[in-house]
Amino acid sequence: MQFDMPSLIPVLPEAFIATMACVVLVVDLFLKQEQRIVTYSIAQFSLLMAVLITMATSTGDSQIVFHGSVIRDTMSDVLKVAICIVTAGAFLYAKDYLRDRDLFKGEFYVLSLFAVLGMMIMVSANSFLTVYLGLELLALSLYALVAFDNNSGLGSEAAMKYFVLGALASGMLLYGISMIYGATGSIEFQPVAEALVSTGMNNTVLVFGLVFLVIGLAFKFGAVPFHMWVPDVYQGAPTAVVLFLGSAPKIAAFALAMRLLVDGLGSLHADWQGMLAILAVLSMAVGNVIAIAQTNIKRMLAYSTISHVGFILVGILAGTSKGYTAAMFYSIVYAVMAVGAFGIVVLLSRKGFEAEQLSDYKGLNDRNPWFAAMMLLIMFSMAGVPPTVGFFAKLFVLEAVVSIDMVWLALVGVAFSIIGAYYYLRIVKLMYFDKPEDQEPLTAGMDTRIALSVNGLAMLVLGMFPGGLLSVCAAAFS
């Protein structure tokens, strides 16, 4: 028996994050509560180093290692860097929030780093087994993070709902995978794709498996009609956790869809295009319409997530490299917008006060014009108002779908975006034209202020120069 030591260089970013998560776990045991900032610094340092390592070991062409379990290509590199940067932003915003609420514990960083590891594994998975394990690693960490605040009944309830529905979704996904394995005889993406081409499309088992796969995916994405957990989890979990949970995992979910549907089952495109179209239309409709009725900003942003997921799905279902590029651009931009929006929620919250109601945003302009402007940029970007980047994200997706002659889908997207613009602009109205109810000064530290400013201005700068990020995304599918 022989054992070939696989090359470890392609999985160096994952290995590094795994090691650092264990380092944080151990170091944190020896720290007093007032030294907890060390844990935070190590976590941030690991994310920064993971970005650098990913860039340094990036080769530009795709390598498959570990007997076909892992693929390292441009898409995985770009998405890994994006995930690490967004997570670093979430950690930064979350720090003060956690400290004010006696939640500043090492477990938050350990679990979050493991969740990042799970996402990285998903992003560069090359077999159904690896995808599934990465997904479970992410999900398990997130369940624990949602219930992170022991004293919060809402948090425990949300975690329970998330766990039960997540387990159900995993079951669906596994059942679908088992069917596809039964029909093709492999769990690696390339052999599956080859087997699909040789057996042809008329295999009912494959389509049956695909249905379960898409249901599992839709659960993880939070697409309608599998979205029920999203608002409850967003509302129940501590805002610091929602910052993380609502941003980076959307990038990973995009990668999950790409790996499963495009790398693995690309030749079944005609079948999954229809399924995704239903999910996308329903998500855009339900997300945007129900968000109008919300008075809690976390619930409102949850429904807004659902509608944005619809747009990401529209990009994927186009099935062209243009569509994939647009969806990837959209998911990265969405993650940056979401982390900024929840960053503002955290900024306005303070010890003993959660800025969760829409009325808490009244007159923000009078209290702090600069952050009102940042929130304005983020809200404009979410609504898709030019020249913010959200406009271009929507534009690219619609362009991709028009170029495959699905004009009706583009029209539906535009119509629901206009409906959606109402509730984003309502926040702008509350901030600028209403009298403030709450006069407390903002207590955030300088690092949060700077990061939020960068985040808000990024909406504008990326919107004026979308070419850079777009060409990075396009390089992944050329």
Binding site: P6, C22, L25, S69, L111, F114, T130, A144, V205, F208
Partner: protein, 200 residues
């Protein structure tokens, strides 16, 4: 009907019956015990499929360790079955409809038409000296090393999550601290004389 086929149907029947009992029993302890039965019979089916190692692991790990712990938990918790069943009748029609439709679909797809012996001929019997454990071990740490490592990390996360969620230090809980107890010095630390008024 060959003996193998008879054993397969016997085990399958017990498995399905036990699984139904798991979700219909009123007493959670009974449910847990029926789950043990379900595990045992599926181990039997795996033995028929010549997956001896997995069958033994299923009995050892799931029945021997997981279910015993599970029984402990079920007995410790005060589960109010009445509230658990409150919505049962209300949701039954919808649940039944979904379940029946899904079961029908599965029967149609996973039937002899798609998975029959003409599509998947039964594999040739393995030689008697074939070791299942060895075959599994030789791929687990080589071909599937990466998934294996991830599974290890998942277990680590499960430990951290379980401890993080369950470990609540309460400020009002009373406990002894031996390190403080041994430091007690002779004199005022150890004994305190309290002067009290004499009572009638």
């Amino acid at each position: 009907m060959t003996f193998e086929l008879f054993v397969f149907y016997l085990f399958s029947f017990i498995l399905v019956a036990a699984a139904l009992m798991v979700i219909t029993r009123r007493n959670p302890v009974h449910s847990a015990l029926f789950l043990v039965l379900a595990f045992f019979t599926s181990a039997g089916i795996w033995l028929l499929a010549e997956a001896e190692f997995l069958a033994i692991v299923l009995v050892l790990v799931y029945v021997g360790a997981v279910m015993v712990l599970f029984l402990f938990v079920v007995m410790m918790l005060d589960i109010d079955v009445a509230t658990l069943r409150a919505g049962f009748i209300n949701y039954l029609p919808v649940a039944l409809m979904v379940a029946v439709v899904m079961a029908l679909e599965i029967f149609v797809i996973v039937g002899p038409g798609n998975f029959g012996l003409d599509v998947y001929p039964s594999p040739p019997p393995l030689p008697t000296d074939y070791s299942n454990t060895e075959a599994l071990g030789s791929v687990l740490y080589t071909v599937y090393m990466y998934p294996f490592e991830i599974a290890a990390v998942i277990l680590l996360v499960a430990i951290i999550a379980a401890i993080g969620l369950a470990n609540r230090t309460r400020s009002d809980s009373k406990y002894q601290d031996p390190s403080l107890q041994v430091k007690v010095r002779k004199g005022p630390d150890r004994i305190q004389v309290v002067k009290m008024e004499a009572e009638d």
